[in-house]
Symmetry: C2
Subunit: 205 residues, 2 copies
């Protein structure tokens, strides 16, 4: 791609470093900004810069927060002894959207993935184990994605805490509500039969 301007080329190169955005898309986005009033670009630029440089992570659960202790951790309405372990901020948002959980979260910041060079020490695992050790936790709910990396991470944490007096659970895996059985993959269908629940329980939700 030949650019008529270094300024344009730099902007396109920077934008195309974002995941899933190629050179052509980056050029389309940048030209869109050029057609809009400069005010829009300035606001975009300011909000990104401010976010990157001023955003904090909750000192307890590591969720993104504007204050030292996030709203959920500091709320009086939440069960402080049930902790839901999630991979990242989006999972907190997704679970909060369901209004089905009234405990606290613990954001690991990723999953153990040797392929990507992510080991236990790159994640917020030690602070979680510390919480369990100091008897602050009654139940730990593993809510990582059901992938090899998610299962590895669950198991790594489980090994470290099993000697302590804490219940552990994982979110139920099975057929999505509204899905056709015949299209479900074998592993999911198989597990959903093995982990069947009393029929009366299924009437509750």
């Amino acid at each position: 791609m030949e650019f008529s301007s270094k300024l344009l080329e730099n902007a396109v190169n920077q934008v195309s470093q974002l995941p899933g955005i190629g050179k052509r898309t980056a050029l389309r986005l940048v030209l869109h900004l050029l057609r809009q009033p400069a005010e829009q670009t300035n606001q975009l630029v300011q909000s990104l810069g401010k976010m990157r440089n001023e955003l904090k992570f909750c000192k307890s659960c590591h969720n993104i927060s504007d204050v030292d202790l996030c709203e959920i951790c500091s709320s009086h309405k939440r069960d402080k002894d049930i902790i839901c372990v999630v991979e990242d901020v989006r999972d907190v948002m997704a679970i909060e959207n369901t209004s089905s959980f009234k405990g606290l979260y613990h954001v690991l910041g990723g999953k153990i993935s040797p392929m990507d060079g992510i080991g236990p020490h790159d994640l917020n695992i030690n602070s979680l184990i510390e919480k369990v050790k100091t008897n602050q936790v009654k139940e730990l709910i593993f809510a990582l994605s059901p992938t090899i990396e998610g299962d590895t991470t669950n198991f790594y944490i489980f090994k470290q805490i099993k000697e302590y007096n804490v219940e552990t659970s994982t979110i139920a895996r099975g057929i999505s509500v509204g899905d056709e059985l015949e299209y479900a993959d074998e592993i999911t269908l198989g597990r959903s039969i093995l982990n069947r629940i009393p029929f009366e329980n299924s009437l509750k939700a």
Copy 2:
């Protein structure tokens, strides 16, 4: 979408104003930036801001340029009396990539489109007509997209300049090289038969 941070929410809202980027994609992009060193966000922000506020448009052809008169307009190797009329900067880049054109460009900045509220006076049409009036142009090549808006724009300009002594042409429309005939749309196929060219000419390119 419920955010745990105003800073995060603002950034996501700003990014999701870009065309083709929804809230979820914006969140994914913003969280990506948070996982990278702050330096990457700062470079992105700086290059966008600098581009939006310092970028110039060539005073002759209106192409994006870092200087008053762009490289193409100021080059001694280009035919200054053949002007290719295009919609935007991407078209200049696409045609330059082919190395098939050695004249100058004129970037309209869009197409006439009453539906989108874009009239002739929102485009760089007057300066083009001025070039024709002052006898600087031997041939005008219309290279807009073959859409209703493109054809309207071509015709609008054509009406204004037909009294002057200038050749006009449009880029050839026909079956793309490598395409199967049976999959071509009827209008394109029909036109390509009406506008057939001597066989010897097709051997040149």
